[in-house]
């Protein structure tokens, strides 16, 4: 039997309710405006250092903006050759043959999308489970420890994930997991062919481990932003704990959770070293997840420093430009979603 629907009022998204986070976020007038009068009454002598300080600080803030513009400009400038030569065909060409001078990015775009999608498929349920456990189920004593451990995953350098992937995960997949998947799910066509261990599946798993802390910490943050009385109200209607979490918490936090997932996607799309080390680096589009693939980031990592010829280099920079634009859009979207829930307080580590 279904539980009674909570009254209209409870279903309002969390944005409608001024949570603590939002209240503290509201722009209090900076000290400068409150104290305008005092400052203008300062002796003239102290105004010059103040102005100098303000300019220095403004310059360092502008530098952040300048860096992003500079990065974008360099990418556009250096990929101009390839942009002119191939135009839009670059993004639907299948051939990547530097010797012949033909460059098509499809195998890399495919590899990036498939590995990231696979990562999200594994990481999203796990991250939401972790976040739910930490915020709603965990004994108080364990809470700090588990969140610390999950965040520790984000502190491990990507090259160490790659090292572990090559020497621990890949043999494990080759010997046990892939034969099992081939036996049970081989009919889908996704799990066929020779089993190397290294390949799309390994890349997806490594990426999943790496994006879990990103998604879990944002999910936890938006779940914490849901006011306590939402939970109490749903419980008071006789809901079980899971119903309370589903209706009182997850429903209110869903926009922020989606934001966290998109942020995780951004991280997965641009991840380089770990993927390069385990994906097998073969520019082919294969249906089987056992097959080696290649991603946009790893082709740059592998071929950039030995690219001969301007066109080759330019094609690689163009892949970088595409990666830059995609992560830019993905991140912008995610921030907007997360901000709409937490009002901008969430410190986002991606």
């Amino acid at each position: 039997m279904n539980p009674p629907e909570p009254p209209e009022q409870l279903q309002k998204p969390a944005t409608a309710i001024p949570s603590m986070a939002q209240v503290s976020r509201e722009r209090k007038p900076a000290a400068s405006t409150v104290l305008q009068k005092i400052r203008t009454s300062h002796p003239r002598a102290s105004r010059i250092p103040d102005a100098v300080f303000a300019v220095i600080i403004l310059l360092s803030a502008i530098s952040v903006f300048a860096i992003v513009v500079l990065v974008a400009w360099e990418l556009i400038d250096k990929s101009r050759l390839s942009l002119h030569q191939f135009g839009i065909a670059f993004f639907y060409g299948h051939d990547w043959d530097p010797v012949e001078g033909s460059f098509g990015a499809v195998p890399f775009i495919y590899g990036t999308l498939v590995s990231s999608f696979l990562a999200l498929l594994l990481a999203v349920p796990a991250s939401i489970g972790v976040a739910v456990y930490i915020t709603e189920m965990c004994p108080q004593r364990l809470r700090a420890i588990i969140s610390f451990l999950v965040e520790l995953l984000a502190a491990i350098p990507s090259v160490i994930y790659g090292l572990w992937g090559i020497f621990v995960l890949a043999p494990l997949l080759r010997e046990y997991v892939e034969p099992f998947l081939a036996r049970t799910l081989g009919w889908t066509g996704l799990f066929t062919g020779p089993m190397y261990g290294l390949g799309m599946l390994a890349a997806g798993i490594i990426l999943a481990i790496m994006v879990v802390p990103v998604i879990a910490s944002i999910t936890r943050e938006v779940m914490t932003a849901v006011p306590q009385n939402q939970r109490e109200a749903v419980l008071a209607l006789g809901a079980t704990r899971w119903e309370m979490i589903r209706m009182g918490v997850l429903r209110n936090a869903r926009i922020g959770i989606v934001g966290g997932i998109i942020l995780g996607l951004g991280r997965a799309l641009g991840e380089t070293m770990a993927v390069t080390m385990v994906i097998g680096n073969r520019p082919e589009v294969a249906k089987s997840l056992f097959a080696p693939g290649y991603t946009m980031a790893s082709v740059i990592a592998n071929e950039f420093s030995e690219a001969t010829g301007d066109l080759y280099l330019s094609a690689l920079v163009e892949i970088g430009l595409a990666l830059f634009l995609v992560t830019l859009i993905v991140n912008a979207l995610a921030r907007l979603l997360v901000w709409s829930i937490t009002g901008g307080t969430a410190r986002v580590r991606a």
Partner: protein, 291 residues
């Protein structure tokens, strides 16, 4: 339905609801286990596989040519230190400066723009930063260098530090600033000696997080610092870095190099953890506590 709710007898919770409730709890616990197992496995393997190859030679010698047994990563350890020092010189002032701007001056449209740009920069893949620094510096200098590697990592530190600094400064109550102004202390002095000082513990933690994040970065160093099999302390020459060395050795076909890769990875993670812990311990004592 409404009738049964208003009935005074305690209502049986249906089997389905009990099962889903149990199922959800089990699922959450399993998720935690699934996430923590790889973490544990990574650390266990790092220690088991790495510790055997960490010895005096590893810490004091440069790499041997491929195939020869022995040698070490001393130059890479020093190189990483050098690159991180350059990165900090660039990243810390810019990051803290923009953080101060966001908190003390940037409560307006332009501040929002900078805040947003910082978050976007935080999400730009490190390999893309590597390409940009390559074409900005390496192409112009005409060779790979420790300096360009430092710039790439420094750029990556800025957004993290800026946002952490902003957040910590916003937590400093306005009355503290007002008290300072009341004593006739100018704004720049108030910001640096009062607000930033009060928030220092949090700011330092933010800086450490940024530092730890870039310390293990490999992708942006591939075509900036490039790596080097020999000693180099010159800023304008290719330089070895621990993370680069681990990468090169891990994908090599030599067994001895694989062992060294594990040892290098272990040293890398120990150095990162030690740096973070050292700062945590020093800042958790004395007057810097709080904020």
């Amino acid at each position: 339905m409404p009738d049964s709710v208003s009935a005074s007898a305690p209502q049986e919770v249906s089997l389905w609801r009990r099962v889903t409730n149990q199922g959800a709890t089990t699922f959450a616990v399993l998720a935690v286990i699934f996430v923590l197992v790889p973490l544990l496995a990574i650390f266990v393997y790092l220690v088991i596989k790495g510790i055997g190859s960490v010895n005096l030679a590893f810490l004091t010698q440069t790499p041997k040519p491929p195939g020869e047994v022995g040698g070490g990563m001393a130059n890479a350890i020093v190189g990483t230190g050098l690159i991180l020092a350059i990165a900090s010189v660039i990243g810390l002032p810019l990051g803290i400066g923009s953080g101060i701007y966001l908190a003390e001056y940037g409560r307006n449209r332009f501040g929002d723009l900078i805040r947003f740009t910082a978050d976007v920069l935080n999400g730009v893949p490190s390999i893309v930063i590597g390409i940009a620094v390559y074409s900005l510096i390496v192409v112009r200098q005409k060779h790979f260098s420790a300096f360009s590697g430092g710039v790439a990592l420094g750029i990556m530190m800025v957004p993290t530090i800026a946002r952490a600094t902003e957040e910590m400064l916003l937590m400093v109550p306005n009355v503290v600033r007002e008290a300072a102004y009341g004593l006739g202390i100018p704004k720049w002095r108030t910001t640096l000696s009062i607000s930033l000082r009060t928030a220092s513990a949090g700011v330092i933690t933010g800086c450490m997080l940024a530092f730890a994040r870039v310390a293990g970065e490999t992708a942006p160093l591939l075509f900036t610092a490039f790596g080097n099999q020999f000693w180099n302390l010159k800023l304008n020459q290719p330089t070895a870095a621990l993370s680069l060395q681990v990468f090169t050795y891990a994908i090599s076909p030599y067994d001895d190099w694989h062992k060294q890769a594990w040892a290098g990875a272990l040293i890398l993670i120990v150095l990162i953890v030690a740096a973070v812990a050292a700062v945590r311990i020093t800042t958790s004592r004395g007057m810097m506590k709080g904020a």
